[in-house]
């Protein structure tokens, strides 16, 4: 049966339920477009996206769209991996570097994690941009090489290949300029098609909520989480979603290299083989990062049968830091993925020394009180404008730009106390972000309530 794009558009426009064949046919034709078969045109795809935006999709339609996108190109064949294949995905935050810890942790505990990550988007950071600050680090791995690294180390960290989920690339570019980005249905299909293309047995989703999240309201984040869990399970992948707070940067740093530094220093601190110790204060500032890391890894380990409960999984996750195996794993992965391993090792051995911003500035408290809160999205934008992010796709990012938080929400603040240090490779870039941060950081006289970091856990 031939699927005509216009019929699919009209059915969704009129609120009808699309068949699997209609969705499959539309997406396949979209990816195969050429001079002889030019439809669906960009205009037809945009009309389809807007119809989906307004009308939504039911669970079966969403599963069919995700499936069609997932298999629109190559997929990662995880079957030779001989183990439980797992991954995590975050909807994007500020200072969210859990992936750098979680992948080596779950690999150390015996799971396989072929992690495919993204780049900095809007006010949020991107794992690939962080990893690429490691000297010689390659994020563009052919799928065969990725498979070999996961086989050897238990995990690999790479970017999407051009042949993986091409339908998402086409649709994402269109959504970006046709006002159809913020649909929970289209977000779910985009995220889940890419994640499921990794051939996963289990997936843990970190759905951010709060001022620094794309979904700022709990109810929007909850709907997105529910749709993603449902879609993962319908595809045969065990899926759990955690709703987590994104109301301040996660951990101590936000930027690119500084986030690698924070993770490496934590792994070094806990490794019994390494003679390096973080101060109590620095550990305290990274406490939320560690809490979230273990919570997410704990669910992954539970899904993968390595722990009886997610809480047991979180304990196991801590052990993988404390016995040094996660850090060993991390270094082994970098050795395989870096083209200049000597330089990479030198940087990782003393990460604080490798941090070489040309300029810095300290934002001090103008009055005493408590750190009451901030618009975390503004903080994210400040980090990006220091040079850590891009104005448009393809722009280079600065390795050493970023911020260091000296306080967390709820902390007692003295007047003139350093709140945030700003780093940039270009002194001219300090001014605007400093003003943005000064504007958004709220110091008040009353001690604020501390929000829970992990708000909810959603399962099928």
């Amino acid at each position: 049966m031939t699927i005509h794009p216009i019929d699919v558009i009209q059915h969704k426009r009129d609120g009808l339920v699309l068949s699997d064949a209609e969705i499959e046919g539309f997406i396949q034709a979209l990816v195969k477009r050429d001079a002889e078969h030019p439809t669906p045109t960009d205009a037809q795809a945009a009309a389809f996206l807007m119809a989906v935006f307004v009308r939504g999709l039911n669970a079966q339609e969403l599963a069919a769209l995700t499936h069609a996108m997932r298999f629109s190109g190559e997929v990662f064949d995880s079957s030779p991996l001989q183990g439980f294949v797992v991954d995590k995905h975050s909807t994007g935050g500020v200072g969210d570097k859990t992936s750098l810890l979680i992948a080596p942790i779950v690999a150390a505990a015996g799971l396989k994690d072929p992690m495919i990550s993204g780049r900095s988007l809007g006010h949020t950071g991107g794992t690939l941009d962080k990893l690429e600050t490691i000297p010689g680090f390659r994020t563009q791995l052919p799928l065969e090489e990725m498979l070999a690294i996961v086989r050897k180390v238990g995990f690999a960290m790479a970017g999407q290949t051009p042949k993986l989920v091409p339908a998402d690339r086409i649709l994402y570019e269109l959504r970006d300029h046709t006002g159809t980005v913020e649909s929970p249905y289209l977000i779910t299909a985009s995220i889940m098609s890419k994640k499921l293309a990794e051939g996963l047995n289990g997936l843990v989703l970190d759905v951010k909520t709060g001022s620094g999240a794309f979904m700022q309201r709990d109810e929007d984040a909850r709907l997105l989480a529910r749709l993603m869990v449902e879609t993962g399970e319908l595809a045969g992948t065990k899926t759990v979603a955690l709703l987590t707070a994104m109301d301040q940067p996660l951990g101590r740093f936000a930027g690119n290299w500084v986030e690698v530094q924070e993770c490496v220093e934590l792994m070094q601190h806990f490794s019994p083989q390494i003679d390096f110790t973080l101060s109590e204060e620095k550990l305290r500032l990274s406490a939320d990062l560690l809490e979230l890391t273990h919570a997410l890894a704990g669910h992954m380990l539970h899904l993968g049968g390595k722990a009886a409960t997610p809480e047991d999984g979180a304990d196991l996750s801590e052990w993988m830091l404390l016995d040094g195996s996660a850090y060993r794993n991390f270094l082994e992965m970098v050795e395989l993925q870096s083209d200049s391993w000597e330089a990479a090792r030198a940087a990782l051995e003393r990460p604080a020394e490798f941090h070489r911003p040309a300029a810095m500035r300290v934002l001090e408290a103008q009055s005493g009180g408590y750190l009451a809160g901030m618009d975390c999205r503004q903080v994210g934008w400040a980090v990006q404008r220091l040079g850590a992010g891009r104005a448009k796709p393809g722009d280079p990012v600065s390795a050493h730009a970023g911020i260091e938080m000296h306080v967390k929400i709820g902390d007692r603040i003295e007047k003139r106390q350093p709140l945030i240090t700003l780093y940039s490779e270009d002194p001219d870039l300090l001014h605007e972000p400093e003003a943005m941060l000064r504007e958004t950081i709220r110091v008040e006289q009353e001690m604020p309530d501390r929000a829970k970091l992990v708000r909810e856990v959603l399962r099928r």
Copy 2:
């Protein structure tokens, strides 16, 4: 203030009310697109159209969209015409040839009608295709020549120029392939922008309803009529809409030349100066055409101050046929618009003889009873497949293809009585339309109710 297409799309998507500036900015940018300013892209315009399709427009938004489209290119400057400038528009039907009679009638009564018409679309006929069967007839008139002819004769009949309402051409092409045709809001903006670009003082709309109409349900046709009247009045043009039945071909013929023939023979029959008489039976078969012609022309004459009531206007319209002035006007218009006036005059003098189909076939009743009805859309498609219409834009149409109705709904039918004669220039094209007509014509034992031709009149 710069208008960003994506903001306009998002606002409409979210059900907000767009400002005049947003709509104006979007449409102006659409028409001015070039390599340097490529937005709104086709995809953005399609997303906008789908958002409008689903969310609708309020009266002010619709007025603003119509205004922006109307002034997106050249407009016909009717100010030198020194008279009440009026036109009619039909939403499209089968055998609907009222324009050929109405324009010379209202001109004969002293109004000015710069009529810009369209071509056959889908199952419906087009005035331009009918006129172009007259030898040498030009429908592509520069606006200055059109003005000169209206000045001289009181009316002219032409096609849209490429510079008139370019926004509609862009949007119409996009709507056609993005499933956004059937929106009453977008239909209103498309029709009214083109009609108002004629610089009208008054406009009468013939909104078809029934199986042969684009809007088959009364409530859809009524909404469209209401929106068009509101939009016309907001633009300062006196606007009236008639809801009229399209459940069988209007008059005796449907096709191209045969429709010119029907009108010319009627004008000749009524003209005291011409020695030509139609049989009572042929007049009876054209009675609905005459009724609708006088009803529409009556409203136009009433709007233009030539009659105290629409009913008086209908009487005046009849008089314009009975004193021969409408026919004189028609011939004068053809003389000015035809490049081969001698051939045109010869064809018009004996129109039945100029009708030269290569093949014909008579569909006979297979049983006796009453003509109960038909799917008039199927009848329209049969006419187009005889050669009168196009499979795609730009295809040539046959001058002599068409059908002749020998019966009207409610007529008593004898077995083997001729119901319809099919004409084509290609004998191979007779078979499928004959089967389509046989399939759809219903002869039943009970006499059907006769529907009123003019169902409702809508005013502000």
